[in-house]
């Protein structure tokens, strides 16, 4: 037994020595933490995303020698999609590197909620591209949250727009039944208030149907759907819940082309387990879809040709991989923007926040970056931390995703009052004095 005690002591000594000694890093490096999940029930979706992020940072370092010469230093921390582990990872990584974390990117709505207050205190921006708190679009209250390219409320609106178009106009929505099959967590619950607003406006009957984490058992939900016969079912799932939903839909013979997934329910791992049964399934796109673009050529040349890629070469170009790329790119561009003001050196989170808030990506710049065809222009400001709210719809034909719609733009006039209302409540609860966006530069 003395042996155990000694081993524990050695381990503890190793910890105190290792974990808290300052990393011997070069001083001209910008530290970026990566919160990822490559294990656990959501690994199937978390891994390709993390691969995209890692590969893009490597590309910047290999191809450009960093951002204006400042190399990106990154470290991954495994959260397994669990909130408490996410908080631990954040605390572990937030002050690494010469200037601390540039920004953080949790890829979990639950972790975003837990970190919203902490990041504001620590002055580290939290980028939640296509997820996170929908009310955090209001930068006056949420100075450090950036739900870039689309919140869940934008997603809900775009989904309804598409359904209206398929039905032949908004007036056709009246009296229709639309159900929301959602992951019972902050992630799945976020769109509900927006959908209620939309249901009231267009007069359709809206039924939310919760699915308990992780979503392997959905039989009763689908039996209920079979009985209610809704015209459309919105799928707001993540991980195994998506493929299970498609399979159960097939089992109760619910037409797959009446299923519309959110942009987190529209990747390859969501449809492939269902095989042929998934054919016809539709989902929103967070602007980009699957496929290869000019940036992928660079990735193949500078990363995969050298054997430094983090996945199989055949998997670059998958939906979630591309989302990882886009996310990393926006972060890098924010740092670049901040460097214009604060100098070409490692920056603090507060400085990067300025860069994010003043980030404008034009079509020309997006083309330069190799993202042409993946993204539309982005323009972030103090009052609009979302930057863009476009979406398209894609359909799985059994082998690949096909884009089947034009661009939609979420309806500002519906979302804005809800954002103002909910964010004001948050400000009151947390005693935050909203910034005056007119005075921000």
């Amino acid at each position: 037994m003395a042996g155990i005690a000694r081993n524990v002591l050695i381990l503890a000594a190793a910890l105190s020595g290792a974990a808290f000694s300052a990393p011997a890093a070069a001083q001209n490096e910008q530290f970026v933490p990566i919160l990822s999940y490559r294990t656990g029930p959501y690994a199937v979706n978390g891994a390709p995303y993390a691969n995209g992020v890692v590969d893009y940072y490597n590309l910047i370092n290999e191809r450009d020698g960093g951002i204006n010469g400042v190399k990106i230093l990154f470290e991954e921390c495994e959260t397994a999609y669990a909130t408490d582990k996410g908080v631990e990872c954040y605390e572990r990584l937030k002050s690494k590197g010469p200037t601390g974390a540039a920004f953080i990117n949790p890829l979990s709505t639950g972790i975003t909620f837990a970190l919203t207050e902490k990041t504001a205190t620590d002055k580290i921006p939290i980028i939640t591209m296509g997820y996170g708190r929908a009310d955090s679009k209001n930068g006056a209250v949420f100075a450090y949250n950036f739900p870039l390219l689309g919140t869940y409320w934008s997603a809900a609106d775009i989904a309804i727009q598409h359904i209206a178009k398929e039905l032949g106009g908004f007036d056709k929505l009246k009296g229709r039944k639309i159900s929301l099959l959602y992951h019972d967590s902050p992630y799945g619950k976020e769109p509900i208030p927006m959908l209620q607003v939309l249901a009231q406006k267009y007069g359709f009957e809206f039924t939310p149907i919760p699915v308990t984490h992780p979503g392997v058992e959905q039989k009763s939900q689908w039996l209920a759907i079979r009985q209610q016969r809704p015209d459309y079912v919105l799928v707001w799932g993540w991980g195994v819940m998506n493929s299970t939903a498609i399979k159960e839909a097939a089992a109760v013979a619910y037409p797959r082309d009446k299923l519309v997934g959110v942009w987190w329910s529209g990747a390859e791992p969501d449809v492939t387990p269902a095989g042929d049964q998934a054919a016809g399934y539709k989902s929103l796109m967070l602007q980009h879809g699957a496929g290869k673009f000019p940036v992928h050529a660079d990735l193949e040349k500078y990363i995969y040709a050298k054997g430094k890629g983090s996945t199989e070469p055949g998997k670059i170009g998958e939906v979630l991989y591309n989302r990882g790329l886009a996310n990393a790119m926006l972060g890098v561009e924010a740092i670049r923007k901040a460097q214009e003001k604060f100098g070409k050196k490692p920056l603090t989170g507060e400085q990067v926040r300025w860069g994010l808030e003043n980030l404008i990506l034009t079509d020309a710049r997006i083309k330069e970056l190799g993202f042409e065809g993946m993204l539309k222009p982005v323009s972030i400001s103090c009052s609009d931390h979302e930057g863009a709210r476009y979406g398209r719809v894609q359909q799985w034909d059994g082998k690949g995703w096909k884009i089947i719609s034009d661009w939609y733009t979420a309806d500002e006039s519906l979302i804005e009052p809800l954002v103002a209302d909910v964010s004001a409540k948050y400000a009151a609860e947390k005693k935050i004095k909203p910034r005056d966006c007119a005075k921000e530069t």
């Binding site: 029930p41 392997v216 009985q227």
Partner: protein
Amino acid sequence: MIAFGQFLEVLIGGLMSGVLYSLVALGFVLIFKASGVFNYAQGAMVLLAGLALVRALDLLVANGFPLWVAVVLAIGFAAVIMAATAWLIERFVIGPLVNQDALTLFMSTIGVTFVIEGVAEMIFGSDVYPLRLFPTDAWFLFEGLFPGGILVNKLDVWGALIAGILVGGLAIFFQRTKTGRALRAVADDHLAAHSVGIPISWIWFVVWLVAGLVALVAATVWGTKLGVQFSITFLALKALPVLIIGGLTSIPGAIVGGLIVGAGEKIAEVYLGPSIGGGIEYWFAYVLALAVLLVRPQGLFGERIIERI
């Protein structure tokens, strides 16, 4: 008439999915019966068996083996993996922990769960791997009688058939074979069994092996249903109320418990759920189990617990 048709549909669907839980619960019962261990790792064992099966299958098919040969070989491979697991668990965990109290044994199987999950994902990968051994589409019965018919999923029927065969097979194994009788002797009193010359560690190995094979069977059905992936381990928690209701020591109890849980929770969810917020099947089975325990503390078919000073 429509309402009755729908009720029938929910009832049948519930009974069937309950049987699928029973497939997992059976493994628990076997081990508890023979060694008094409440094996939390059963869910992880289903994952391991499924991953071994599907990865071997994919590899063999990719190398040009005909499908049926590949299936047989892959099942053989997975069975070998489960045998190795059984041996390792008996040799390094359950053997050394003999005579410890039930709680310690239970916690040690959680430790085993971590190890199995880690090893399985490390060797076989943590992606989702589709498995298609059974048809997954549905029959629509009595379409003339009810509009839309009554939906019955073919996979569920296969699952029920397999569960029936499994229970029959296990019953014969326990009643008719020498090893089976030895198993029952060990379950009754392992010291007495030991003293009449039954090799205890061999018997425990056999029990864990059989539980591993039951996990493999469960993996073929659940893998077809969900695709083989990490979430399969959550089945352990769905199987717990099933075996509590049936009784920890009864094999038919696992099936009956599954039927009760399946039918109960689906009917509750569909008919009671919408009025109180939905998602009640998450806890319904457990509350049902609690209610059954209050009446019969050893479950419906469990052996009576007799206490002496």
